[in-house]
Amino acid sequence: MTGLPPSLSRVIGLSGGALDVLMPMHLWADPDGRVVQAGPTLEKMARRGDLTGLPIFRLLEFRRPSRVDGVQALMALAGQRIGLVLRSAPHLPLRGALTTLPEGTGLILDISLGLSFARAVSEFGLTLNNFSPCDQTIELLYLHEANTSTMALSRHLSKRLQAARAAAEAQALTDPLTGLANRRAMDAEIARCLDDPAEAFGLLHIDLDHFKQVNDTLGHAAGDAVLERVGAVLRQQLRHADLAGRVGGDEFLVILRDCEGTAELDRVAARIIAAIEEPVPFKGQACHVSASVGLAASVDYAVRPGPDRLLADTDAALYAAKRAGRGRAARHVPGALPDGCRAGDPKALPPVVAGD
């Protein structure tokens, strides 16, 4: 005590009761290391009744900054942060700080719950009254509970948003890249048109030519630019009541309403092909693609086909157009082989239909 300024070396007397109020988890030991007094909360935690006279090392195990089991060594830790446990609860780390008493009359050790406070409070059965109002452990517990509750609410919200997004995706009818309808929307519209006997409509099945080369040589961004351009072309070339959709990577379907027959479809297809063949500028380069088209008109069927039949027919016609040299349209004629390859080689056609 000699080196301390007068105000800090001044000795005051505190009753045992005062220590209980200020430090409910204190421990006062004599120079032999026996307990003179223990705070009420510490006694509750130790669960062995009155601790008076008990050797401090039988009650506590000192672990940090070093393992200590002698009173002199313990006193040397005065003023330091001490890591310790109750021998009866070695899995709950506690924290302590001690000061020696004047004239070598012993020591006072104050203890607090470490980061295991939540488990400690529960295992020791502590209540609000067991803590000094100055001890923030209660606020930590409060925060711990509040966090648990709000985390549960956040998780709940995340789950609901996830479910809502999944539902929205499942119900989506638009292809996000081109803004055209998607496969689901096209299937529904084709089924609706077929169900309405008054509806005379045509179906174009468009597949881009040379699209893979654009993707391979100029990258996917260039490919996307081409697809967006095709979306714009289809919107431009079609009437308001018609419907165009992207139904695969570079595959499109178009429904044309009030369609008199395949001659009209031929004209529309030719216009679309010509527009798609316009080069698409991308970062100083020009992307060149074309399109092959398979087409069918509902008026050409004596009996309304099912959607699968209709799509298979346009698909076969499309394949015929591809075989005939790409960049052209071919039409399906019910009851006959697709013969409409405008500049095609008829010999290439029969296997297509035969395998269909």
Binding site: V121, E139, A146
Partner: protein, 195 residues
């Protein structure tokens, strides 16, 4: 208004009066969705529209409905976590009253952006208190009255509460604490977190 507040109003109406009443309130208030989310924010007029619709649908005066909401916040079994958080405020109802001024900070510890009422407590004599509260929306007086009445029960205290009028947007509440150990109250053990 914070989603927690809106969600509380919805929760109160649904658990107390049923899904159909909530559906009617929602439709009268013109809510564009089925449920409030506790973790989102909503415009104040939406909250007010819901509350006014609830008063009409249930034929209840606003103060009575607000008081019921306050009571429900403390007593509903689904809101046990909230009751527990309130009980952290003090070891007795008297202690709880004295810590009411900390309630706003306590609320913000739990939910940082929650609009909490500013509360002041004056002790008039040994057993009488006057509480003055201000909030972003009118009605904190009756909500607090329902809430405090339920907390007094929770602590086992006997208290009389009365609305004390509104002065410049500050809502007053008079409390007389007649018996701090009137009944056993409900249990509260620390450290019982259920994740």
């Amino acid at each position: 208004m914070h989603g927690m507040v809106n969600r509380a109003l919805q929760g109160f109406l649904m658990t107390t009066y049923g899904d159909e009443v909530w559906a009617e309130v929602r439709s009268q208030a013109g809510l564009p969705f089925a449920d409030f989310e506790a973790m989102l924010d909503y415009p104040d007029p939406m909250t007010l529209a819901c509350f006014q619709a609830a008063c009409q649908v249930l034929h209840k005066p606003p103060n009575a409905l607000l008081e019921d909401v306050g009571t429900w916040l403390v007593t509903d079994e689904h809101l046990e976590p909230l009751r527990r958080l309130m009980r952290f405020s003090g070891t007795s109802f008297l202690d709880f009253l004295h810590s009411l001024e900390e309630l706003a900070d306590r609320g913000r510890l739990a939910v940082p952006d929650l609009d909490m009422p500013v509360i002041e407590l004056d002790q008039i004599d040994a057993v009488s208190f006057r509480i003055r509260a201000r909030w972003t929306l009118p009605g904190i007086g009756p909500i607090l009255m329902g809430c405090l009445r339920a907390m007094a029960d929770d602590y086992g205290a006997l208290a009389f509460l009365r609305l004390g009028g509104v002065e410049n947007g500050v809502e007053c509440l008079d409390v007389r604490l007649l018996d701090t150990a009137f009944s056993e109250g409900r249990s509260f053990a620390l450290g019982r977190v259920i994740a």
